[in-house]
Amino acid sequence: MDQNQNCHKNNEFLFKVLIIGDVAVGKSSIMKRFAENVFDRKYGSTIGVDFKTKKLKLGGKAVKLQIWDTAGHERFRSITSAFYRGAHGIVLVYDVTRMETFTNIPKWLQELDLQDYNCTVKILFGNKSDLSSERDVPRETAFKYADSNNMFLFETSAKTGNSVNEAFEHLVSRMLVAFHEAESTATKPILSGDLSTCILSEQEKIIAGSGCSC
């Protein structure tokens, strides 16, 4: 509920997207490609977290994406996992040239479940798809896996930019759908706060009344 309220201000949607995956699968490169449309081969390892924002329009709706890029090294998990909560979308990345990064995807999903996050939109990126000669993860296996886990898979290449934008646009459209679904099923917010606040508001009504009678 809170999440929905937070992400729609001034007719602009603000979605928080988290990129996770094994070490050196290209998470930072994907973020850079999408946010700035550049590719830097010499990008250093991500320490802790990094973030960029990107605005886009989709179906007449203005969307601002706050993209959090996390470190793949599990030693930084204590920091990165703090970002799982409140994320509207999760991008899981593996490297198509390294099988182990793909077989670790279930572990990442498990990690997400542990954090009790609210996000329903997950998307899978098979990055480095330009290195077709070194491919280690067969296309079919990956798509089958994504299907069985109710995720969309995009084979992307941060280097060439192939499919990166499409994948993010798809993610955004699904987040918008999820947002509207949540909005339609949402109940009225219950007044929160301590008792004194409630009393105060009662008295405020009295004041308003007295103002009239004055």
Binding site: A24, S45, V49, D50, F51, I206
Partner: protein, 532 residues
């Protein structure tokens, strides 16, 4: 309301306003009286009553606002106090000279007759206020990091340098051997996979044969049972070709070929030649990377050939470090013994061996044909040696180190690549130092960011051993910032406080935008000491 007030009253704040507030607090108690009157009397009284209520409300609102403001002020004063306690008053005292930093002229003034005639405080003060001149960093940093002692003589330092460099070489030799073990292990499992898929016929022979040969071996095996079952043919095949991942397929035919040759050797000989092969590799590669060729049973003979022929120094040197390092390297010692003449010529061997060992993909066969007959001679000794060597490392340790190496490889390749110093050769140096450090701290292991801290040291010193030692000292300082330490949380708290005090407006913005006041985004700055 009353309880709120009491709470507030018990707080340590002593402000004159307290009394006034108490008065305010007393008022609501008289509220029931006017309410009773309302029932009995007319509109005038109602109005009077409402006025009282209004008054009460106003006071309440004012009181709450004041309370909020007071708690905010109180919090800020605590934060200020905390921050001021972090400031070291001793560092103060910046006159014009200190503001210039440690310049070349200042250094030559302080550094006379090969001795630094200054104490730590003076140097620290200069560096703190004005930094160190780029040109003399390689001289100053060792002092700052505690590698050189203030007031030590040139000779003392040189001696220390030599001792440390020797230590470094020993460590380097130790883990490079382990790395070779690891590489063989993976190569073997890869070859296993390949041969299972591609060459069924010859593979079967081999598999039938191996278990017979192995009973003695498997007990002491270094790595997984796989590597114990490796027959010579497979090992050499994998090893000789040595371009893992790049050209698996072209070599698929070879295992079969090798196996058939392998099968030709007398039955009892096979496990021995395997041993020879392995220890041969270590020797050669420790000394110099004349790795076993595509032959079935590369032997010590072959190693001697290459050692004796092309790299006498290296053999000697492997003997050298054998003496000092553990059992596993001990195996090479025996080789050296048999190669006789070369023992003792230590020289720069490990340095050079290091140069090669790091080049993971560079172990190409040197094409020396081996003599199977020779194998027999070394068999017994090597059996011993191998068991000694293997027993010294557990599977877990090897797996752990392997994983760490993998991570280091990934990170070294992308560390400071925009800096021209880091060409292929220097990246290898970086890798070697990093692996050496991780080898000595395997319980913690490699954590991303270590490479970033090491890189400037290597650039400044351009000396592996020195960079390693200084890095060890640097890490003693920085270690607590890493995820296994506790310092990072303190940094976050301090950062949060600083922003709150120095730029409340920014703090508010951060709070409003999904509360970023945990300052996790500063993680990299602190971990890498603001390097990037």
């Amino acid at each position: 309301f009353d309880s709120d007030l009491n709470l507030w009253a018990t707080s340590k704040l002593k402000l004159p306003r307290k009394k006034k507030l108490r008065k305010l607090a007393d008022r609501p108690k008289s509220r029931p009286a006017p309410q009773r009157l309302v029932k009995k009397q007319g509109a005038a009284i109602t109005r009077a009553c409402l006025e009282t209520v209004c008054q009460t409300m106003k006071s309440q609102i004012m009181y709450r606002a004041l309370k909020g403001w007071l708690s905010h002020v109180r919090h800020l004063s605590t934060v200020r106090e905390h921050l001021s306690s972090l400031v070291q008053s001793t560092v103060a005292g910046d006159d014009d000279i200190t503001r210039q930093g440690l310049t070349r002229e200042k250094w030559s003034e302080l550094y006379q007759d090969g001795k630094l005639c200054s104490d730590e405080e003076e140097i620290s003060k200069l560096v703190y206020h004005g930094g160190v001149d780029q040109e003399i960093r390689h001289l100053v940093w060792p002092y700052l990091l505690g590698f050189h002692k203030y007031g030590s003589t040139h000779e003392e330092r040189e001696h220390e340098d030599n001792v440390r460099a020797h230590e470094y070489k020993k460590l380097l030799a130790e883990w490079t051997n382990v790395e070779i073990l690891l590489r063989q292990r993976t190569r073997v499992s890869e070859t296993d996979r390949d041969s299972t898929a591609d060459s069924v016929g010859s593979k079967e022979d081999e598999f039938n044969e191996t278990p017979e040969n192995d009973p003695n071996d498997t007990k002491n095996d270094i790595g997984s049972p796989d590597s114990g079952n490796v027959s010579n043919g497979k090992l050499t095949n994998g090893y000789g070709h040595n371009d893992p991942g790049e050209s698996d397929h072209p070599h698929n035919g070879t295992p079969g070929e090798n196996h058939s040759r392998h099968n030709d050797t007398p039955g009892e000989n096979s496990p021995k030649s395997e041993l020879d092969n392995e220890s041969g590799c270590y020797d050669c590669e420790t000394g110099k990377l004349c790795s076993p060729a595509d032959e079935n049973s590369p032997t010590c003979e072959k190693c001697h050939l290459c050692n004796g022929g092309s790299s006498g120094d290296h053999v000697g040197s492997s003997g050298d470090h054998v003496g000092s390092s553990g059992d596993h390297v001990g195996s090479s010692g025996d080789h050296v013994g048999s190669s006789g003449d070369h023992v003792g010529s230590s020289g720069d061997h490990v340095g050079s061996s290091g140069d090669h060992v790091g080049m993971t993909n560079g172990y190409h066969s040197n094409g020396v044909d081996n003599n199977v007959g020779e194998t027999k001679q070394c068999t017994c000794q090597k059996d011993d040696r191998r068991s000694r060597r293997l027993s010294s490392y557990s599977d877990d340790l090897l797996d752990n180190f392997g994983l760490n190496i993998h991570r280091i490889d990934k990170d070294v390749l992308r560390c400071d690549r925009n800096y021209p110093y880091f060409n292929h050769e220097n990246l290898e140096k970086l890798r070697r130092i990093m692996c050496t450090y991780v080898w000595t701290t395997l319980d913690v292991g490699y954590v991303q960011g270590m490479c970033d801290l090491l890189a400037p040291l290597l650039v400044i010193f351009d000396d592996e051993a020195k960079s390693y030692d200084c890095f060890v000292l640097l890490m003693k300082r920085m270690d607590h910032n890493f995820p296994h330490g506790e310092n990072m949380d303190k940094h976050f708290v301090n950062m949060r406080s600083l922003i709150q005090i120095l730029d409340p407006e920014l703090f508010e913005v951060m709070q409003q935008n999904g509360d970023l006041t945990h300052c996790y985004f500063c993680y990299r700055w602190f971990l890498l000491d603001f390097k990037r």
